[in-house]
């Protein structure tokens, strides 16, 4: 009688095969959980296209907190370099009363690109795209180019503007962080 030897494995080989199979299944499960977590985090990131009045209401609603507002654009390389610092500050100082917000100055029809970047950076805070001509928000906050960062104190008033108006005086989030620490301590 012919016996198909290939269908039978020695006990040692069987154990090895089972070990590899389990390791593979475990790996798949871990990747699955991780990607689900990643997707969940991304799905938490939203972007609201707003007019100036709605944006001002959002800022006013945060009275009692220290608010950092990052004006950025999908076209702006320096903005994108600095943006992860806003996300980091959100995680680090939210417990102390910091509210981080972002305001994209991209064209409303390009909002999908802005949202994609925010999702990549896991910007799980209030994200807005201001659907106004640049002159409107530039005039309101005396901002020329982005990146620009505004800090509102707990009393709801503008405490500091970090802007790049002067080529000789660029700012970074180190400056922003140094400024907000004493405000958070109050």
């Amino acid at each position: 009688m012919d016996v198909d030897q290939s269908a039978h494995l020695a006990p040692k080989e069987e154990t090895e095969l089972m070990r590899k199979l389990l390791a593979t299944l475990l790996g798949i499960a871990i990747i699955g959980i991780a990607s689900t977590g990643h997707a969940e985090e991304e799905s938490k990131v939203t972007l609201q296209v707003v007019k100036m009045q709605a944006l001002l209401k959002q800022i006013q609603a945060q009275k009692g907190k220290v608010v950092v507002i990052d004006f950025w654009g999908d076209f702006c390389i320096p903005c994108k370099k600095e943006f992860p610092n806003l996300v980091r500050m959100h995680h680090e100082y939210a417990k102390d009363g910091l509210v981080c917000m972002s305001v994209a100055v991209d064209a409303a029809e390009d909002s999908a690109n802005s949202l994609k970047f925010l999702q990549e950076k896991k910007a799980t805070f209030g994200n807005f795209l201001i659907d106004e001509e640049p002159e409107i928000w530039q005039e309101k906050w005396n901002i020329s180019a982005v990146p620009a960062v505004l800090v509102y104190g707990r009393d709801g008033t503008l405490a500091k503007r970090f802007v790049g108006d002067d080529p000789k005086k660029p700012f970074t989030y180190k400056d922003v962080e140094a400024f907000i620490k004493p405000l958070l301590a109050k």
Partner: protein, 196 residues
């Protein structure tokens, strides 16, 4: 002594507007255009401010990598062609980066068939001297090569939404011997990263 100090302070206060504009922190309207010498163009030639002889010169501070700057290329091309007999239009790339090297500038200019010189300000001296902070940013010079307009091309990067044509209005005024009604606007675009 106190009166001398106060006098000096007053003089400095009065002098400040000469050094900075309403929005521009470095240079003001009515002052001489900072000269530039032998900036390399995409055609391999070296260009100086004195090479531009027409009554009006428009200097566009721009770059390759910025989507706002590239959104204005068609408008710049159209403008340069429209005013070719009266206005010298020159584009200067003041940014430094992988996308803004001379080979990339040549490629971009070739693709778009720029009808104007496209120069590289590798030292960034011109950009700094002009106080340019974003791309694209425009400077209009009169016959005496004084700055008579600085700021944006128009009021929206989306052509369909444009309602104010600041640059063209300014050039139109200068060409008929008038001062532009709006001579300075806020720059809008990609922040220029200067080497400190």
């Amino acid at each position: 002594m106190k009166s001398i100090a106060l006098g000096l302070l007053a003089a400095l206060t009065l002098a400040t507007p000469l050094l900075a504009g309403k929005f521009n922190k470095v240079i003001n309207l009515g002052v001489a255009m900072p000269s530039f010498e032998k900036l390399e163009g995409i055609d391999g030639k070296k260009y100086s401010l004195s090479d531009f002889k027409k009554d009006v010169v428009v200097v566009a501070i721009t770059c390759n990598h910025c989507s706002v700057a590239t959104a204005y290329e068609d408008r710049m091309i159209e403008f340069a062609k429209k005013y070719a007999d009266k206005v010298d239009f020159v584009a200067v790339n003041v940014t430094i980066g992988d996308e803004d090297g001379m080979p990339q500038m040549k490629e971009r200019a070739g693709e778009k068939q720029f009808p104007y010189p496209y120069l590289a300000d590798k030292s960034q001296k011109l950009g700094k001297a002009l106080g340019a902070i974003a791309t694209p940013e425009f400077f209009v010079l009169n016959k005496e090569r004084k700055i008579v307009y600085m700021g944006v091309f128009d009021n929206n990067q989306k052509l369909a939404k444009v309602t104010k044509r600041y640059l063209e209005d300014a050039v139109g005024s200068v060409l008929i011997g008038d001062s532009p009604e709006i001579a300075e606007t806020r720059p809008f675009g990609c922040t220029i990263e200067y080497k400190q």
